[in-house]
């Protein structure tokens, strides 16, 4: 860090889910399939999130996607540009997206190095043939369809699968701590994003018209209750309770928080005790999805 470099800043943290249905329903030119709309509640939620940040200056987006699953530590995209076609292996009928994205390799390496110093297993991904996962692309598009900000992309270390939610969370809390440190040291203004759903039980059938909203609902009442419980904590600034209940939530709601993104996000935001802004909630093929923003830029007092 340069001597005269100003201190970095996290301007916002976001929970921003990635089901490819959202991009499909938007009909962007980069995606091959076309739709008659659908999932508007969530797409309007993304609109509100974009609007909320429209006048906020920032340099980069740091994003953790549960669909780049790694079993040997956390990996970081480590080349300045990735350009290819992303086809969702689960919903290829909906998502075949031609992407072209820039990476802030310096910031990625800064976080990587700090994580390594903290004893976490980390690796830079420098293979130019690597295809970026559809979770990163979907959230990247919905958050910033212009793709005019460089990204830092972290993989999802599946430590929950190897150990437990508790161990996963411990590791993600540490990763969040060093991510925050690296961002503040970098002098950059950054948005951090966890790209995951809440309850994550899918339907195993798909209607003939995937965007037929008459078929869309949460898979069960229990999943709805869990989602609302978490959203209430988001809206009332009770981040510690989210972390405390993460094992039960993850197990019982089969939640996509198993990828570590939500724990990492809250840690990166230093466990915010101010309210998050709920921009939208909706279900996608039965899973629960919330778009939430923690406007850290408005809550600097008393923090670093």
């Amino acid at each position: 860090m340069g001597l005269f470099m100003s201190k970095g800043e996290i301007v916002a943290g976001c929970l921003a889910p990635h089901p490819p249905h959202l991009v499909y329903a938007e009909n962007p030119e980069q995606n091959e399939p076309t739709a008659e709309g659908g999932w508007e509640q969530l797409r309007w939620g993304y609109e509100r999130l974009r609007e909320s940040l429209a006048d906020v200056e920032y340099d980069a987006i740091v994003l953790l996607s549960p669909h780049w699953q790694t079993y040997i530590g956390t990996h970081f995209l480590g080349l300045p540009k990735f350009k290819s076609l992303s086809v969702d292996p689960v919903f290829p009928n909906l998502f075949r997206y031609h992407y072209d994205l820039d990476i802030d390799v310096d910031l990625a390496r800064q976080i990587h190095d700090k994580a390594a110093d903290a004893g976490l297993a980390v690796k830079m991904m420098e293979n130019p043939d690597f295809r970026v996962d559809y979770g990163t692309i979907t959230t990247g598009h919905m958050f910033n369809p212009q793709w005019d900000k460089p990204l830092v992309v972290l993989s999802s270390n599946r430590s929950r699968d190897y150990y437990s939610v508790e161990v996963m969370q411990e590791m993600m809390m540490e990763l969040g701590r060093v991510t925050r440190e690296a961002i503040l040291d970098s002098g950059k203004k950054v948005v951090v994003i966890a790209s995951n759903s809440l309850s994550h039980r899918h339907f195993t059938t798909e209607s003939a018209i995937p965007e037929d909203m008459s078929k869309e609902h949460i898979t069960s009442h229990a999943m709805h209750l869990w989602d609302m419980r978490m959203i209430e904590y988001f809206r009332t600034g009770q981040s510690q309770r989210i972390l405390d209940e993460m094992p039960e939530f993850t197990e019982q709601a089969i939640a996509e928080s198993d990828g570590g993104g939500l724990s990492w996000l809250l840690s990166t935001l230093d466990i915010p005790n101010y309210p998050g802004i709920l921009h939208g909630y909706g279900t996608i093929i039965g899973t629960g999805n919330a778009i939430v923003e923690w406007p850290e830029r408005n809550h600097k007092e008393g923090r670093e």
């Binding site: 780049w68 699953q69 086809v87 292996p89 297993a121 059938t205 898979t219």
Partner: protein
Amino acid sequence: MSDGELVGSYIVPVHPHTVLAADQNEGWGRLRDAFEEAAQRIKDSDADLLIIYSTTWPSIIGHQIIADPNPEWVMVDNDFHDLGSIPYSFNIDENFAHAWNQANENRGLKSRTVAYHGFPIDVGSVVALKLLNPDNAIPAVIVSSNVYANRAETTVLAKACMDVVKATGRKAVAVTAMSLSNRMFTKPIDPKDDKIHSLKDDEWNRKILEFLGEGRLEDVGQLSRTIHRQIRVNKVVAFKPMWWLSGMNQNRNNLTGEVLAYEAIHGAGGAVVHLDPAASGAGDKEYDEDDVEYFLGERNVLDAQGDETEMVSETVSAKPSNSNGPALWEPTESKDSVNSAAAPKPVGAYPHARRVGDLLYLSGVGPRQPGTNSIPGGPIHDADGKSLEYDIKAQTHAVVQNITRILEEAGGSIDDVLDVTSFLVDMDRDFKGYNEVWADTLGKVGPTRTTLAIRALPTPIAVEMKVIAKAPALE
């Protein structure tokens, strides 16, 4: 053609080390040698189809089957990207893929084919096809592993596959791309330090391989849940491939097995195993789970009324099970009746068939599926009577399958059919498609036939057949 068969089965590891780094570790090299030995055996078997079930391709909407005749791309592993890239260009049997997809639906499974440019073929399939079929001489087909599938669904998936293998006269090889114990080291290691992650994992792996070496495939299938709990990290899919492979082999326990190699790949257990269908003389099974012919599970959630977690019951009551027509009945039992659990329930008080002397008289047979009461190719109208698009060929295929099931229940086969009266609700629209399927199926058997146009059938179907067949000799 009806003499298709499985000429061999193989279990192979999924990680890219055997393709990209076989020279970096002696064990990886031995696995590579075993792959090459397996490739030679497959070649020598004159196999004309490779069927890959890969644990590294998870799916959610039922099962997916690659149907792109020539998928090409460059595969890079999520974890081991530093080992390099694997360009691939495969020879896929799209016709088999489509036929398997239809067979899945006929057995109550949700299924679809995938043929999109750039679709990411998974690492397990890429490794298997690169090493077992290096010159692409044998056409292949690849199926996903559904994350929610249980034993019943996975077993039925195999049976549907074998329906097509048999019907098309193929000499097929079944391959499961999978790890045994799948716990890897969670930090990078020097290749020379690779070993199975723990002694416990190693002991379980050796027990599995002891069973497989004795050809006791169904025993391993029966132990799948236990194995998963003991030595499997809870990744996306469980230890399901043994269910599928055992289903492909008629749940046999007396195959001739040989372990060609067993080594660690970054801590996980990787093995190349050959299972020859030749009987080994073993075959005793300590216990057996229910055999399953049709999938009756949670596949109607989108249409569920009320509690959507309720499963479709295997027992069909006298109430309508869904919108496809009137109430269903248990088939009428009598001294001469022939009733099959594998055929759709009647819509009135009658049996599936009745034996009189040397003849079998079948009640009118439609395309509805047992258990789900679904109609392959779709119903011809909805509950309000609004016309819907449907596929007459799929319906006709399903009728022939239902006839086959009833005749097999009687101890006979489709070859016993003597005379058929067919009923079409739309002769102008459907005769051509119906006639094409007939030519490919019953037309080859050669019964006499009469085709009639009628106004309606009791359920929203387009075709029904009334059959008289030879009855198999009584023992």
